[in-house]
Amino acid sequence: MFWEYDPVTFSRTLTGLTLAFHIIYATIGVGIPLMIAIAQWIGIKKNDEHYILLARRWARGFVITVAVGVVTGTAIGLQLSLLWPNFMELAGHVIALPLFMETFAFFFEAIFLGIYLYTWDRFENQKKHLLLLIPVAIGAAFSAFFITIVNAFMNTPQGFDLVNGALVNIDPIAAMLNPAMPTKVAHVLSTAFMTSAFVLASIAAFRLFKGNNHVYHKKALFLMMKVGFIFSVATVIVGDFSGKFLAEYQPEKLAAAEWHFETEEEAPLILYGWLDDKGEVKGGLEIPYALSILAHGNPTAEVEGLNETPEEERPPLFVHYFFDLMVTIGMWLTFISGFYWFAVKKGWKIIRKKSFNFVLFLSGPLAMIAIEMGWFYAEFGRQPWILRGYMMVSDGATSAGYVDWMLFLFAGLYIVLGTASVIVLTKMFKKNPVEQELADHAYERGEW
């Protein structure tokens, strides 16, 4: 081999790779069932077949993404034990409960998804069909809920005492209700819904940008931009709570994100910029008082700086860029979806412009980038801990050989799955455009 074999580095890289790939499909998997249910519900309420068709087409594409989400989820589930056996042995004693409940939620979703997909034509009544979607959406949201609890526990472990290396006084419920849980769960769910809405809006915007003027795409775009806007606003609110949570429980994570070194009052928020050789921030955009407001809701409040944290326990400083990108994209999406909604209400002509539709098309990819950035920030910001305050990453990793080879094996797998899923999805919808499907339905009903 050309490098020194270090299972810790390779385990980290492989876990990071699996998760970075999985969350793309997982986010879609959590959010889309709700969007399908919304479209189906509006279709029933308005008695508009366009919305029913929306639900149908989304569901068809959803199956492909679910498949990749399921298999990569299985991969990360097993990798937790394969790559982090020491960590799982310790954490399993305290946090197995939500992990276990997650599989129940997943099970529930899987059963109803199978039923939903295979009973399209069995029920005349569309309402019955909607009823089948509800458990799918609930199952999807609950699996995100439980798995995020596990992650929250790793950030703020509680519900046990460590006495001479042994775990005592274990309380599984207290471990679940850890301080990071409320903001993390709320943030993960709202961003998953938001991202899924923007991804679906992107598809419609892309069709309109390409010159297709069908009212079906306009309805889809308007509906999803509206839903996207609502969840963006929710995300901004939750994001603010998250900042306050960090200031209290994980000050070093917030300080690293903000390059806030000295503890001080009236702390400014720094956007972008870079660090010079002396560790001074250059070229950053400074917003006075903003960090104090984000951290404590008070412009003059004192914010703890990174210098208070021992050097070997500090997160890497590059998390600043992840944080900034995430926040910038979030703000932009909130603005653009709000603007679009307003413009439609006012009847402004800009919404028909090709260039504007291109801007809207970018929302989906941007939202997905923000998801990745947010997770990178959350995970690198917890370094060097795997279980903050209890276990370092280097102590949790496997001692096994061949982790490097496994990294290549899985990298190859994700390249194949990623490419194949994109090809299959494109083919699926190109072969069967909306106009064709609407015509087929009309024909079936004898309207021709």
């Binding site: 097993l78 034990s81 790559l83 004693h93």
Partner: protein, 337 residues
């Protein structure tokens, strides 16, 4: 009864569930590919697709359920098995990933591709082979403790006749289970052509399955005499399993009561599987880890059992609904809506 025993019994039951439904799934993939080669695809394709489509995701959950439950009830197993099984289980995950996702791609998206069908069929046989390594490792003799860390002895594992006997058994029994189930399914569907072909497959694979099982007992004797004696103490369970094997084959030969034949097969495998499990007691990984020193704390065990019962109150009616809509719905099975 000890919580430890309840825990391992429930997990063992889940593993058994996975083995049966995954076998049907993996074997069906193989028969699909084989039918492509022998130009009998038109006979089998429909019946296999009909069964697999609504349940493929559920099959996968059974596996997830087993290993999450295992780590939950026996956290130390994450340490021992996690450390030593990195390579074989990773290969298994990659195969499952390719197989699972491509099944969806194929069914809902892309056109038929011969290469894909071939890969799909082969992957189905390699998955049981890669996962059955777990059972081999649990027998002891393949793991050493070096510097306080468990290490897998790849060479010993690869050259052990026991390894290969278990691999062979896993493959032939996958084909046997799958063919028998699909015969019964085709019978309900009144698909005579598929039924006759699958019945032939079932009979063809019954012999190798019985042979491979016998071979393992012999290997076990050479590998670990103590484990062999444990198995012999439970001879009557295995004998009973043999009786059900004979019943299944007899019914298949008589060309009737196919559903009964399948349930008799399930009982046969259940007896053998639980007999094997009991003979393993109390070890999770011989000789390092027993169910007693690997068990979780009392608070977590109680919480997990409560979650388990609550979860099942939700799942059983749902699974029942799924089965009623697709498996035991004659109209659906025959090709109706």
């Amino acid at each position: 009864m000890d919580l430890e025993i309840i825990g391992i019994s429930v997990l063992w039951l889940f593993l058994f569930g996975y083995i049966i439904i995954a076998s049907i799934d993996f074997g069906a993939g193989f028969f699909s590919a084989y039918s492509e080669l022998t130009k009998t695809r038109h006979i089998l394709h429909h019946i296999i697709q009909r069964y697999l489509s609504p349940v493929w995701e559920v099959t996968n959950v059974f596996l997830v359920f087993f290993f999450v439950g295992m780590v939950g009830f026996f956290p130390s197993s994450a340490y021992y098995y996690g450390t030593v099984l990195l390579v074989p289980v990773s290969i298994g995950i990659v195969l499952i990933a390719i197989r699972g996702s491509y099944y969806a791609f194929q069914t809902y998206g892309a056109k038929d591709s011969k290469l894909y069908i071939f890969l799909y069929g082969v992957a189905g046989l390699l998955i049981p082979a890669s996962l059955s390594i777990v059972l081999t490792v649990s027998e002891g003799g393949f793991v050493d403790i070096v510097n306080d860390q468990p290490v897998l002895l790849y060479e010993e594992l690869f050259f052990s006749p026991l390894t290969w006997s278990i691999v062979i058994l896993s493959i032939v029994s996958v084909l046997y289970i799958s063919a028998t189930f699909l015969t019964a399914y085709a019978d309900v569907a009144k698909d005579e052509a598929a039924k006759n072909l699958l019945r032939k497959y079932a009979l063809a694979w019954s012999g190798p399955t019985a042979l491979a099982a016998g071979l393992i007992v012999l290997q076990m004797r050479a590998h670990n005499i103590e484990r062999f004696e444990n198995i012999m103490d439970l001879w009557w369970i295995f004998a009973l399993s043999g009786v059900f094997f004979v019943i299944t084959v007899a019914l298949l030969l008589m060309r009737k009561y196919y559903s009964t034949a399948f349930w008799s097969l399930v009982i046969q495998f259940a007896l053998a599987f639980f007999g094997y499990g009991i003979s393993h007691y109390p070890y999770l990984m011989y000789p390092y880890l027993t169910i007693y020193d690997g068990f979780t704390n009392e608070a977590m065990a109680t919480a997990l059992i409560v979650a388990f019962i609550a979860g099942f109150a939700l799942l059983i009616p749902s699974l029942f609904l799924l089965a009623r809509l697709f498996l035991f719905n004659k109209k659906y099975v025959k090709g109706g809506k």
